[in-house]
Amino acid sequence: MTTSTDKSAALSLRNVSRNFGGIRAVSDISFDVRHGERLTIIGTNGAGKSTLFNLIAGSYPLSAGEISIFGEDVSKQAPSKRAGMGLARTFQTSKLFAGLTARENLFVALHKTNGVQRKSLLANPAKDPALVAESTEALRKVDLLQKADVRVSEFSHGETRQLEVAMALALNPKLLMLDEPAAGISPSERGKLIELLRALDKDISLLLIEHDMAVALAVADHVIVMHDGTMFTQGTPDEIRNSSAVRDLYLGHGHE
């Protein structure tokens, strides 16, 4: 394995580790997400998926290793700087602005597209045709247009997940990271989510962290399986689907 990051990749990790006290939550992870690639990281609860996600987004500092986005080393950059480079992320449950309507949530996101302030802080976004059109488009994509003016505190769980995706997409990202978008949603909503992710613009590189195998394998070009903070195995969706080691891992026996 090379020790420097791949400059042509959308996202490149080399020997990334993170300790919490004496516990090594993420240990020596290296991989690349190539331009336009759909990469999924799966793993059981406690495998270190969310920690890894937060390391890439910049929410946690690295204990060791290097992360680069579009060839630029961002290991020590703040989350907002990474957002400015075209990285958009979703958050796990209830991380939306609950007191605002769906459309207002999008306005807050759109105002800072790619970390750059678009209009005067004092301007009214509801009177800006471009912002209204963009928010409408984002809501339409996730099938929430009829709920545009409803407060998010009154949304169902599935609807908040859909709005999460809309929030990230609205930023026109080049690299999209989704944190368990299928967590807790109904089967019909899951079908819609898979459809939406498959229809994503091929210019967007996608990193999906997912506990739900069905979604993970339906969307991915390449799958990484994490276990105990390390990379357990990797391969195409078919290889992972047919791997007995992975099956054992998910069923809770085998791997020691």
């Binding site: 207002e104 306005f107 807050v108 105002h111 802080l121 004092l122």
Partner: protein, 322 residues
């Protein structure tokens, strides 16, 4: 949205003709109308902070008081013209907001409440102790109002309309800010600061701007209060009056900007009437406060939302049984 505009329009119209339709205008224009506008404005600065930052402040009278005292000391004691002392008072009150906001916004919830309470108590003690400058517990009295274009601004109706214009401008500005990118961002920070950070917002700067705006509103309230009483005393910045303001905001509905005026009107009218009937009027006011909170926990402005939620719940329940 349109119904809201109609309601606001009707209320503004009522406020405009108020001195001419109210019985006994000699009493009610000042004790009902102007008093509501003055208390309502300072309460608005509290409600604005609560609505946008999720913080309840007991320190808004500190900014009012700083402004009142600055003007009174400069003009009454040192003969500086109002043309200088009033703007200077507003600037000092607002600047105090910058310094205090910078410190206070590092705290949260009950600590913020305590810190702002300490401010109020601090100014109260200072104004009591610094007798040679502040006039001690009698304060600074006989504050002759300025004349604008030869007009006596404290003439009953003139002062009422002046206060009304100032309040309409400030309230309109608050509503405008609420729907702006700034207002949405503040609400975003209140609900989820981590997310606005990752979007690239500078949370602390935006919150400070909101705090300073509220301090400016309270400072304007200080100017109105000074000429309303034509005096400034330690009691006008004391704890008792801060608690009164808290009651006004909570009764009106602490999450609604308009609630400040509704609460102020209820309290001003109630106080004016009840004082004629019983010397236990403070206890009566307390009882009213408890009663309103039992009926409308979200304040008077929250009743509409409360009814809507109940209706939705009923609809959902009846849909469930079918």
């Amino acid at each position: 949205m349109n119904r809201r505009k109609v309601i606001i329009g009707v209320l503004v119209l009522l406020a405009l003709v108020f001195p001419y339709i109210v019985p006994d205008p000699g009493f009610w224009v000042t004790n009902g109308g102007t008093r509501t506008l003055w208390i309502g404005l300072v309460a608005l600065s509290m409600a604005y902070l609560n609505r946008n930052l999720g913080l309840m402040s007991l320190g808004q009278l500190f900014f009012s008081g700083i402004t009142s005292y600055t003007i009174a000391i400069l003009t009454i004691k040192h003969g500086v013209s109002y043309g200088i002392s009033i703007p200077l008072g507003l600037v000092i009150g607002t600047l105090a907001g910058v310094i205090i906001g910078w410190v206070a916004l590092k705290t949260e919830a009950v600590y913020f409440l305590m810190l702002t309470l300490a401010l109020t108590l601090g100014l109260y003690s200072l104004s009591l102790a610094g007798e040679s400058i502040t006039g001690g517990h009698t304060g600074i009295n006989s504050v002759a109002p300025p004349k604008i274009f030869g007009l006596d601004i404290t003439a009953r109706n003139t002062f009422y309309y002046l206060c009304l214009i100032i309040n309409l401008l400030i309230f309109a500005a608050c509503l405008r800010l609420q729907s702006s990118n700034f207002g949405l961002a503040l609400n975003g920070i209140r609900d989820n600061a981590a997310r606005t950070t990752s979007l690239g917002y500078r949370n602390s700067g935006l919150r400070l701007a909101a705090f300073v705006w509220a301090s400016f509103i309270a400072s304007i309230g200080g100017v109105i209060g000074l000429f309303y009483y034509q005096a400034v005393t330690p009691d006008s910045v004391g704890l008792a009056r801060s608690i009164d303001l808290l009651i006004v905001v909570v009764v009106g509905g602490a999450s609604y900007l308009g609630g400040s005026y509704l609460g102020a009107a209820v309290i001003a009218v109630f106080e004016s009437i009840i004082q004629d009937y019983t010397k236990y009027y403070v206890a009566a006011e307390g009882a009213l406060f408890i009663l309103i909170l039992l009926i409308a926990p979200q304040g008077l402005m929250g009743i509409g939302e409360q009814l809507r939620k109940r209706r939705n719940k009923k609809l959902a329940a009846s849909a469930g049984t079918q």
